[in-house]
Subunit: 174 residues, 6 copies
């Protein structure tokens, strides 16, 4: 059987149990997965509070805590390019080679299929709940968000004062 | 009489009969027209579905199908610059020289007039109808849009599956 | 006592009496102030009508007209960078060294505090009134705005036809 | 037989009889040729004295003066990207589609072949003589260069004072 | 004792036994090392033949083949920024936090020390021999280079035809 | 008589007595001078050791120490743009308006004259000696350079350890 290395991209602001679910799903079908950190150059904004380095750290400790073998995943920061038509080339230059893509995003699917890649869908895990947008909203409102994120990542986010950072970024000038 | 080469810019997402009307109007007053493809670096988004190359192709086949002599027009892709104040210089460096500008856009008019150019208005052809925004909306809703675009361009857009591309870009993640 | 050079940033679109008030406040506590012109690369848009050069000119004539000693302030244009996490380094490379920051903006405060700077708040002078957004709105509607801006800057803005520029930028295509 | 549209890139600083020879050779084998103007963003330097607009103009008048049908060629400015690995995607987004590439350049050949394109070589026409580098050198030294460039382009280069521009750019500060 | 995570940067064009030696040295003193891939955006040039993705792959298989625990290293691509003064911030945003830097490079040392980092030197392993510049030269001349690079990386470089790529890039136009 | 504001650009790495001489010469002919700091984004390299902020500081203290009225000069950092043809627009957007340019540089002269500016030459003050390149060379070799630079700037350069910085940047990796 052919070796299968998959590509899977997200912004991971923050990494949550839905992402974990997706990666487990992919690793059930493939040997390895390259996890692309999208919009890697963005941080310290409401939509993108965490730096690429913080997100890389979250992902690795999260997967290790779930006993996913570290040899089966790669983490690759992907800065944005301002032209969708060159984006796939950009990803390919930054990543170890892969032969299948997993995505539910229509633009990602369109661009990779145009370049001849097989793109597979991922069954969502209760999408309304396991959503980074929703989690950031909970953090902003000081409501419980911890059950949606792997335990070690919760601890890390608290250590770097993630919710406070978000609340500061959202605060009106006084 | 002085030789007159005009500059006319649009994003042409897609090129439609209103653009054709404008170019005919300009060529009635001027010897040649430089057609600038604005936001040339953008593609594969809802507002800018087509690449610069696809738009250049549309414009040329559209004008040729209307028997506009190819020697009377130039097509020049113009990528965006992030500073309006240097935009006219940027256009001038990319284009054959021109001595008049046709535009109904207030920013384009302001910037060219500041640099000493004569800017002339173009009578609109039923503006609500002949609008690229409106045409993209029709494509998205799977409603008839073909009567608004020159026949050869309709065929080309269908060949490259333009409406499907737009619908995919607009689709929610599943 | 330690020499105190402060950093204070704004977009100054345009510079108004609230900014003047802030600078006087800072110079009451510090020896010198570095005035950063934010989004220096932007101009000729509704939100950013004036160029960095025009804003630098406004600030200098405005402060001189108020008898603020020119040796006590510096004016430094700061173009945007697209990554908040490197923004403080970017500012530091462009500016004479400073040892305190004045800001009411939460992002500015967060980023400078992360780098170890003391960030102090500035008491607002009737914030709803002395607001550049509000002043641009008045200009757009052709309503009196002149009482909100130092006299010499009013004269300069009229000389460069600032309100007309804004109105043109806001006008719909005809 | 399949329709053949070729891609051919050069910097054309300036366009000379060797380029003309290459284009005639290509049009002997193919239906159409897309002529890419490389390093389109560069101008006013010793290596790149002419703007993209000036080069586009030279190419068109040069080909027309040789009775090459204007419907058989396209001229497309290609600004540099700083990453060779995405360059082919960048070219494809800016150009009408093509199915064969003509190049004697090893990097261009390598990059296009990697993306699956057929790359064909072009027989050189006395390469030492018909070389833009050599022509710029002749211009700098005020030696005859006119026999190496199509007549209409010679006239245009003189009209825009090309040799003087080069000599000024090369002059030491006084 | 404090946890020690080191930062170590190179271009790794290609990764060789000298790099391996350095990483072993660092891991003798520190718990973990972040390996920064410098000039990550460059590839397909004589000085930078390999993409960031290819280099990331080389490093990981090379270290694994030497039984270095994968949990003790991180691999982070670092694209260049054009301003040295913001480079350290850029690195920090892309990388998991680290508390010591290993480098023999004077610019890297200067920039990190300016930001308060401890920078330690690494004893070179026969520097003239274990040098990527020298290895690329050997590849270009078709001389034996394989003894300078870990075996699994030799195999990978041959699989992706690295020496042929370099030779093509270096070849004169024919 | 018309008000005269001049533009004068340099990289000022570092600012020396030749620059001072030039500015005095200009202020003998003009009311005010805008001093552009070229390549403002570069620093911490052998050719560009000082940041824009450090250079701005040098220029101001240097001119003040010579009793040049601070109201007669402006200091404006000018980052590079990669296209010479848009450079004048870029300068104009960043600077207060000026009506004459002083330069001995052929490219600067060519570009400003093309935009219709009067460009005047500046008599050099012993050019071999008062040259920033020469001064950096002296610093590198640990030879006396202090007599070529205004006293207050010498003190400042020593305070920020300028010669040591240069020497470090020039040192080979150990």
């Amino acid at each position: 059987m052919t070796f299968c290395r998959a590509f899977y991209i997200g912004r991971f602001q923050p990494f949550h149990k839905g992402h974990l679910h997706a990666i487990k799903y992919i690793l059930n079908e493939c040997d390895e997965v390259v996890i692309g950190i999208g919009s890697a150059q963005l941080s310290y904004s409401i939509r993108n509070p965490f730096t690429a380095g913080e997100r890389m750290y979250m992902i690795r400790i999260g997967l290790l805590s779930e006993n996913i073998p570290i040899t089966r995943f790669w983490i690759v920061p992907i800065p944005d390019v301002n032209n969708n038509d060159i984006w796939v080339s950009h990803v390919k230059a930054l990543s170890p080679t892969f032969n299948v893509v997993y995505s539910n995003n229509s633009l990602v699917t369109l661009l990779f299929e145009k370049e001849g890649y097989e793109v597979r869908k991922i069954p969502f895990l209760e999408r309304d709940k396991y959503s980074a947008t929703y989690i950031r909203k909970l953090m902003l409102k000081n409501k419980p968000w911890e059950h949606l994120v792997p335990k070690v990542i919760v601890d890390y986010i608290k250590e770097i004062k993630g919710p406070e950072r978000l609340q500061t970024l959202a605060s009106k000038d006084e």
